[in-house]
Symmetry: C2
Subunit: 408 residues, 2 copies
């Protein structure tokens, strides 16, 4: 056990030589820090033969959220352990942890530099055939195998404690469910949106739905979530999809992860209006995004149901029809979390490059308005759905029509 010390390129090389056999003994290795430096240091360590690894170290503060906000180093332990547990049940779509040191808050990971970050790729109008299927596969397997369907109650309770993550959950609790719906210094939006934002603060049915979503986030220990699965937490290539950065992981409602992912695809959908001038190409990209959402929802449902039918260990939860009932509630939740993701990414503290990079101010404003309206509709649809009659939304098709009904 060593004390925590902030790494530089020299210290990283020294550390890597000490702890692991990542390289040949006589290899000449070099290190290059390339993270954005807001939350973590990220080093690429490589030898002259083209072998490389990633060394990620958590910093004891989060410059990007509020001013010099101290932030627990324990998030490095959570992140490494979520990755390990997710990789154990979905190795194909989870970044591989090679080594972890909780005291130094250091994790050594496989280098995925041959892939791209999904957000950047979508912003360049690149598409990936397997994306929807792969993320559905990842979300279904990681959530099913960390749910009460599969884990013994005793084992699950121990994991809930291990993955209790108060400081990072608090960021979501504040930025996702609170700030956008009241006046807060952390909110970020152009003056031109003020009247719209003010209306949103007084939208009683919307605030009620947001309360339900927050309450579920605070109390429902359904499964070990990624906790922050936006398009910046996904590496993609032609044949590969790898999830990274689950430092917000905790036991929460499964619909939160699914909704976050879909919400980020819809944010990109809105942003394309300001990115691709030619209408046919823009429509093509937007149809790709909707198709990815459709595939993701359907594959998630089918995968999860199949896992539940084969592998549910809990006797009572094996009851005929229960997995279907549970999955519909997960899908309904995901619509609500998707809506709140659209809202908070448009007017809250943390925006998306998809929209913020649009240079023309008027176009950007139009896109923001569309994202905000879409977000409200999604969140409210959830409420209407549940209030009117849960029967109305009893299939994946219904859910998909709900989501895309308002964007076509």
């Amino acid at each position: 056990m060593s004390e925590y010390v902030i790494f530089d390129n020299e210290k990283v090389i020294e550390y890597i030589k000490k702890v692991g056999s990542f390289f040949d003994n006589d290899a000449v290795i070099s290190s290059n820090e390339f993270g954005d430096g807001n939350l973590n240091l990220v080093f690429r360590v490589q030898d002259t033969g083209g072998n490389s690894i990633i060394v990620k170290q958590a910093l004891p503060y989060a410059r990007c959220v509020g001013e010099s906000w101290p932030l627990t180093l324990d998030r490095a332990r959570i992140e490494a352990n979520v990755l390990k547990r997710h990789a154990a049940v979905c190795p194909a779509n989870t970044a591989k942890v090679l080594h972890h040191d909780s005291t130094l808050a250091v994790t050594v990971l496989e280098d995925l530099g041959q892939l791209q970050i999904l957000r950047s790729a979508l912003n360049k109008a690149q598409t990936f055939t397997n994306l929807g299927r792969d993320i559905a596969h990842y979300l279904a397997r990681t959530s099913f195998y960390h749910s009460s369907f599969y884990l013994s109650p005793t084992n699950k309770k121990a994991l809930v404690t291990e993955f209790t993550n108060p400081e990072l959950c608090a960021i979501t609790e504040d930025l996702f469910f609170d700030d956008p719906y009241r006046q807060s210094e952390r909110n970020q939006y152009p003056q031109a949106l003020e009247s719209h934002v003010a209306k949103l603060r007084n939208n009683v049915p919307l605030l009620l739905e947001i309360a339900k979503l927050k309450a579920k986030f605070l109390t429902a220990s359904e499964a070990l979530l990624h906790g922050d699965i936006h398009t910046g937490s996904i590496f993609v290539g032609t044949h590969e999809t790898k999830v990274i950065d689950p430092e917000f992981g905790f036991f929460g409602p499964i619909g939160f992860d699914l909704g976050s992912f879909i919400g980020n695809l819809l944010l990109n959908y809105c942003a394309q209006q300001g990115r691709i001038k030619a209408l046919p190409q823009r429509r093509k990209m937007q149809i790709y995004l909707l198709d990815t959402i459709s595939v993701c929802l359907r594959e998630f449902y089918v995968n999860w149901l199949s896992l539940a039918q084969q592998d549910t260990k809990d006797l009572a939860l094996q009851a005929s029809g229960f997995a279907e009932h549970f999955l519909i509630s997960v899908l309904q939740d995901s619509v609500g979390y998707c809506g709140s993701e659209l809202i908070r990414r448009t007017i809250g503290l943390a925006h998306v490059a998809d929209i913020d990079e649009i240079e023309d101010e008027q176009t950007r404003l139009l896109v923001q308005q569309q994202a905000l309206l879409l977000g409200e509709q999604q969140a409210l649809l959830l409420g209407e759905q549940l209030i009117l009659n849960a029967k109305n939304c009893q299939s994946v098709e219904d859910i998909y029509q709900l989501i895309i009904g308002s964007v076509q």
Copy 2:
């Protein structure tokens, strides 16, 4: 810190003299063990002047559940700490902890010997005017002040960990939600009920509702529950109601406690058919029980809503209409948990004296059949309710009519 050692009367006196100033220095004190000896030792320690205290010690096994089943001593810590936390927000209706020692699994409590155990009193057809109101008050205050409405998320997460109670929750998970719905050596019921019990095992809609109730028990950290609030965990007198024995305490769905209490009143309702021969007196007692349920539901709702309106700290959960929405879901849950309590107390391992003490076999069988039917109806009503339309059950009056509709 001492090692764990099982107490006898002599050791108790020695311990009490060492740790506290419970008696005058020159007092002559004596001890008498009077517990049933299955789970815990219970001593009354008194001086010659009529002062007395209760010393409760957990034993490292539970003879009453399965054969020589070892059981964690940690339940003594949980019990003492739940009592302390509940007393902090509802001193009037919580037994007072005077001292606790986790290593010895010993808790010193106020002596409530001037009161009676509610189950025994109801079995003697005694009634208590304040009972429904007092338990409503206890359940509303203890659950509200340990919910996300009031606790900060960080504080609540720490308490969820502190009150993680896997071994005692496992008993409920097995005996309440699993055993009654399948063949298990632990089930206890007369041969004459076999065909009814077999039908229950094949009742698909019922098994689905039980799965929903178990899933909520396993995942919903709504508040710090008592966890076992049957009529044997309540002391009553003309002007006093005191809750004891929360060793099953954990963060779970609020409707579980409310449903357990109501379920035990309904078990007594059924039992009166075999206890009070004269019809007018029997009806009088049964009407008292239904009235107590009615008062309890109404007062619970009114108290909780009033606490939520005055004291909700969470900004998002202050949304207009959310407390009402949440409370209706708690009441709906309570109907389901009430139903499953009726079923498991009739055919599972742990029965109630209310019914078991009925000497005439045929009468006892009739009572058991009524309790079982009532249990199924309650559990199924929940499902029908939610499936048909949640709107149908949007008030306390609706819930009460649901519960009593089938017993009148």
